[in-house]
């Protein structure tokens, strides 16, 4: 058996995560029109303050924090209120400054407008 203490084989069993609660992956619908991309994300329990959407290097990160105090001792549990996290790679030509996010009844609506250069354009055919 080879010596397992070298760096390449070091076990990461002793590394602990700071956060105890793993975020869950929310379900998402992605739509596209000529002008924009539209994402609908189910984030029940999340509030406006807990939502963090950022676009960096072509990666769209959607993080929605959920803080809920249990109203008593648990009798039955089918879910654990946890944060939501999902990362998408988005095509080039999205204007990060114009991303618009709206939250209503637990559904986050993200609109990613395309910049002018990538919008479909109709080319006029001239009479020759």
């Amino acid at each position: 058996m080879a010596n397992q203490t070298d760096l390449a084989h070091r076990s990461n069993g002793r590394i602990e995560a700071v956060q105890e609660r793993e975020p869950v992956v929310p379900v998402v619908d992605v739509y596209e029109s000529g002008d924009e991309l539209l994402l609908l994300v189910d984030v029940p329990g999340a509030t406006n303050e807990g939502i963090d959407v950022r676009l960096d290097k072509g990666q769209l990160t959607i993080l929605a924090k959920r803080r809920e105090d249990a109203p008593g001792s648990q009798l039955m549990a089918e879910y654990r209120p946890s944060d939501y996290l999902r990362v998408f790679s988005v095509p080039q030509g999205i204007d990060p400054s114009k991303i618009d996010a709206q939250l209503s009844s637990g559904v986050l609506r993200l609109r990613l407008p395309k910049s002018e250069s990538v919008k479909p354009r109709r080319i006029e055919v001239k009479q020759g």
Binding site: E32, L75, E78, G106
Partner: protein, 153 residues
């Protein structure tokens, strides 16, 4: 995600097709199963919505995740045998858009729960906030916790 078998060797493309079909079978059984299972850490339940029940001392509190639903879309009924939640969720694709990915399903649902103790139906309350349904059921007087004084002898 794993690389597709077909990317490694075209002879294995049949396995990709098999996996796609199995995914579709799961979608039929469980509407909350994601079409593209990026879900790994979560368990898929066949029942929707998922429900948590708490004992808050003088009341039972039920919480359920109902994203996209408003108070008009949920019917909460209390009867002798327990509590039931029913309703319908409709997800309409917006006009003028083409869909790339549709994981949020529309369906109608109905769930019934047996409650662990008697409740007072007059004082039941239900509300929907941020896509979470909360039903508060005050316990019946005989089910309320009662402190018994311990006396010195």
């Amino acid at each position: 995600m794993f690389p597709r078998f077909g990317d490694v060797n075209r002879d294995f493309a049949l396995l990709d097709e098999f996996r796609r079909r199995m995914d579709r079978v799961w979608e039929d059984i469980d509407p909350s199963w994601p079409a593209n299972p990026a879900h790994t850490g979560t368990r898929a339940y066949s029942a929707w919505p998922r429900v948590n029940l708490y004992d808050g001392g003088s009341a039972l509190v039920l919480k359920a995740d109902v994203p996209g639903l408003s108070e008009k879309d949920v019917r909460v009924t209390l009867n002798e045998s327990g509590l039931s939640i029913a309703g319908e969720r409709t997800v309409a694709p917006p006009e003028g858009y083409s869909a790339h990915r549709q994981e949020r399903a529309s369906f109608s649902f109905s769930r019934s729960l047996t409650l662990p103790c008697k409740v007072n139906p007059e004082q039941a309350q239900a509300s929907v906030k941020n896509g979470v349904l909360t039903v508060t059921l005050a316990k019946a007087p005989e089910a309320q916790p009662r402190q018994i004084a311990v006396q010195a002898q």
